[in-house]
Assembly symmetry: C2
Homo-oligomer: 395 residues x 2
């Protein structure tokens, strides 16, 4: 037995300012210490009912099918595609970042034909381009967009796209992994049929669950399928019989400790209020961006379409990407994200999500980054970032 190599659990205390997970509020973390109950325990159903109500509030929907998938945001994405697309269906997908590419991959694995509507990584998908794609097809089953692209920092407008989806009778699917709880989203008012998200970003729970909602139109499309849903674990028709109040047919043993944490995090969202929460994320995101620009850095995402919860900033020439990120981690305990795909080595990705979205973290990040840039002879005047951010925070 002496040859088993492992060490005692002792993780470092990080300030999580990357693309997620974000730091967990102690109250949410403590919820995981609550005693677990079985997946058929009456108390489990109480927590599940609560969670459905809380998620309907957060998604701003009346959709009956509104619950978390027992997997991460990527499982939510797969759920969103594999339940609604079948071989031969046509899906129009906006492609302008890493996670939009992942949507394409998911749709292809469902046997769908994918029409890509492409834009540069850092720019939105224009409604005109979407309409051109929709009208060129005989029948489009599904139009899919990423609301907040974690790889580029772009916030995709949705209302015009939603109108087009209705006009061309396509289901409208949205990836809200990075936006839910941090940016305004109104599933019913905006006419979105399928939405998935994650627990560990702007909601502020640990990674492991994917909040999901689907409209009546989406469910009707699912019921009209001619072939079985390829996934048993993510089959929404089976999951619904377990989550639904009347039947409660056992499906799988739910990750109850994460249900507790999500329940507590959602209660905190209600207590803070949605508008207040979006404003908090906006205020800190704007302050960070003001600070970065004051330091002479360039924001990557298209102006007027920048996320407040995740900022992409270009790495100045002559500055070593990895040295800065490793310095942040080792000298200050701060995690930020590097670029993905074509943006690898080109940008940093700084998240201010959930409990991590605080004025302390804005100032800490700007101060730490300044020190590391100065160490690499990048010409920045001491204190300008923090000063600009502090000014912005007063607004």
């Amino acid at each position: 037995m002496s040859d088993i190599s492992y060490q005692a659990l002792n993780p470092p205390d990080r300030v999580l300012l990357g693309p997620g997970p974000s730091n967990i509020h102690p109250r949410v973390q403590r919820a995981m210490l609550a005693p677990i109950v079985g997946h058929m325990d009456p108390y489990c159903f109480t927590i599940m009912d609560d969670t459905m109500n809380l998620l309907r509030f957060l998604f701003r929907t009346k959709n009956e099918l509104t619950f978390p998938i027992s997997g991460t945001g990527s499982a939510g994405m797969e759920t969103g595609f594999c339940n609604f697309l079948e071989p031969g269906d046509v899906a129009v997908i906006g492609v302008n970042g890493f996670f939009t590419e992942r949507m394409v991959e998911n749709a292809l694995r469902c046997g769908a034909e994918v029409i890509k509507v492409e834009a540069e990584w850092g720019r939105i998908i224009e409604p005109e381009a979407i309409e051109n794609a929709l009208k060129a097809q005989k029948k489009v089953k599904l139009l899919a967009l990423v609301h907040a692209e974690t790889s580029t920092g772009v916030l995709q407008p949705l209302t015009e796209a939603s109108r087009l989806a209705k006009q061309y009778e396509a289901l409208f699917l949205i990836d809200a992994v990075t936006s839910l709880g941090g940016h305004e989203l109104a599933v019913d008012d905006w006419g979105i049929d399928i939405v998935y998200s994650c627990s560990q970003k702007c909601i502020g729970a640990p990674p492991g669950l994917s909040p999901f909602t689907a409209s009546q139109a989406a469910l009707a499309a699912m019921q009209a399928r001619t072939c079985k849903i390829p996934s048993w674990y993510l089959d929404l028709s089976l999951l619904s019989t377990y989550w639904s109040g009347s039947s409660r047919v056992y499906h799988h043993t739910v990750p109850i400790s994460f249900f507790y944490a999500l329940h507590e995090a959602l209660a905190m969202v209600v207590e803070e209020g949605l508008e207040t929460r979006w404003q908090r994320h906006l205020r800190h995101g704007s302050a960070l961006q003001a600070g970065l620009e004051a330091m002479g850095l360039t924001l990557h995402a298209q102006e007027d379409y920048r996320l407040s919860v995740l900022t992409t900033v270009r790495i100045p020439s002559g500055v070593d990407d990895l040295r800065v990120r490793q310095g942040l981690l080792s000298d200050f305990g701060i995690e930020i994200g590097g670029g993905l795909g074509p943006l690898k080595g080109q940008v940093w990705r700084i998240g201010l999500m959930g409990h991590s979205s605080s004025n302390e973290n804005v100032l800490l990040l700007l101060s730490a980054l300044e020190q590391l840039l100065l160490a690499q002879s990048y010409p920045v005047q001491a204190g300008v970032g923090v000063t600009a951010a502090t000014e912005a925070l007063k607004k």
Copy 2:
């Protein structure tokens, strides 16, 4: 906002003696309070490497591909089928319980042709029946059995089946959801190619992860596929590039708090020792079974093939199933399981798994059950169950 219906988190303290989850040791639960790190943090990779080593110890394998899937045991089952079966493949599946039926459903969704080898719910699948099925086919891709059937309480012998799988050149897949950590299992010595399990039964961590391992032969079969793996989330070729020491290609945001809990639970398995742990489960299971029989109750599973971690006992005629289970829950805080499928209303399922496998729980369950049976005029002599169990515990 006042119309959102939810209550403060306040779960009851249950004694979990059902088919899982089992109670979590405080040390394991406390691990979830450790600060989370990102999925690309060097510390995350340390924990992942540790976890692979610890799982190899537990599975008794040298398989490189040995890690937990980020979902429950059912996600592990789907991983086991969807990565290895493709349309047109033939799978021979032993069918003698609820979870064997679920395996059939998974194989069918992969487009495979399924040959069922059936036995009564409560009896093992006989090697002769397996051989007959194997030799009737031109080519069998996969032979699948459930090691410990949670619905029936039966322990399936594996060595002869393994020999047959080799002889007929089929991959050998085992569902070890209920056995891993509680019953002997030796993946390499027993020639098993694909095994999945769960975190919340005999390992003693919360539900949400599925330990998984696959042999070189299984990986070669996966690489020889002609069509893409339908699931992106459960695609082992992608997951391997994230878990593998050299590449670490980001796949999904791992449920780090559960990784911590699993790491701690596995460390406790190593500290206890595998043999000692199996013996503990055997001692408590045998004592429970002795007590139940002393009370005049009949065990359901075939003699000599009874699980020690989960006991099925027939509900005596005249006794109300639900009244007993509700009494256990409300009067004693004890969860046990009811029958599934054809055994609904016929049996109770009593688990003694992981931290729940203790002599206190044996005595508590027998005492509580006695009270509830007496209340329903079932003729049982006061104390016989506890006395018989206490005798058995001395052995």
